[in-house]
Symmetry: C2
Subunit: 202 residues, 2 copies
């Protein structure tokens, strides 16, 4: 399975280059696990699906810690049939057969509850796209059930769901949505926006 993300950081300040370059060292612990390529639009991370959200969390917290309004946008993908299989994308742990939805929801809640806090509050909205399966709405509704029962749920919006809270449990909830819903070897995409320090936040 191929997995990875195209991620972009948008610091809303004249010093956007300085903030981006200053945050990049947060990716250092992940560099041995990932192939990383950057151009003028985004940075590609290719590697284990379960490490993508911790890497994005640490990068975003590092960029937001100075208090400027910063947004991270990412297109996250696993199992795309148009991409070659790649040993670097092997998950850290084998998840085995896919349990029924109610058990996956319970396990996702446990993972969010166990996530260490970072001290950084974030606002998130995202969409989950399980592709190529006839019952894709069942998986989406199952994922929404999980999210609505989670302490980081904020509200539903058209086309997406909002989360809020500490970046630790929020990014854990995103990882759970991405990893536990949709077929285990299927094609799942996730479109993510993370915001901190917005002057128009409620």
């Amino acid at each position: 399975m191929f997995s990875g993300a195209q991620i972009s950081l948008y610091p809303m300040t004249d010093d956007f280059v300085g903030i981006i370059l200053g945050a990049l060292s947060a990716l250092d612990p992940y560099r041995p696990s990932f192939r990383i390529e950057t151009d003028d639009i985004s940075t590609l991370l290719v590697g284990p699906p379960d490490q993508l959200f911790p890497a994005m969390r640490d990068l975003f917290v590092a960029a937001a810690i100075g208090g400027r309004h910063v947004v991270l946008s990412a297109a996250v993908s696993r199992g795309c049939p148009g991409e070659p299989d790649d040993p670097i994308c092997a998950p850290s742990a084998d998840t085995g057969d896919q349990p029924p939805l109610d058990r996956r929801i319970a396990e996702a809640h446990e993972a969010v509850a166990a996530a260490p806090p970072t001290g950084s509050p974030v606002a998130v909205q995202f969409s989950l796209y399980p592709l190529g399966v006839g019952h894709h709405m069942d998986e989406i509704y199952g994922c929404i059930d999980f999210l609505k029962g989670s302490p980081v749920f904020d509200r539903s919006k058209n086309f997406c769901t909002r989360l809020k809270g500490d970046a630790g449990p929020v990014f854990a909830a995103l990882a759970e949505a991405f990893l536990r819903f949709g077929a285990p070897d299927g094609h799942v995409a996730l479109d993510l926006t993370v915001s901190a320090n917005s002057p128009s936040a409620a």
Copy 2:
């Protein structure tokens, strides 16, 4: 059918609020056709699917014209079965039965060739997600065939395709990808990033 987009503008400058507010009047001609709602993460446009990309084009060109590095990010959707049907989303023209892929590709090329230029160069990357159909990769590959034959094609990347050129034909190509590929009444999502004036552009 329900159609719309969650869009966000990211001006990389201390005056990001001024640039966003200054660009909003570009949406005025579209306001009668759309329901528009804004929060601290994004602005929702709900309305005719064929008007979404012209509206985003005009908003983005207005934000970028001052020369600051600006990005627009959008999650665009049509036919989501979780959303109610809405008369405001009726397309301006009935497209009738869906022709075979090769004819759709030819028509898409004609539409891009006919798009008036704006004078604003942009760089784009986007992903198309035709959901809930078993042959979703056929539609994706058909769309990629169209894009690779288009003068605004830049290059393929993991998970997405890059376009570049004048905002006129580039946004026309995005609209063609969104409207002509995937089932006519099916659920299609498109994840879009548009960039202008990047200091790291090639």
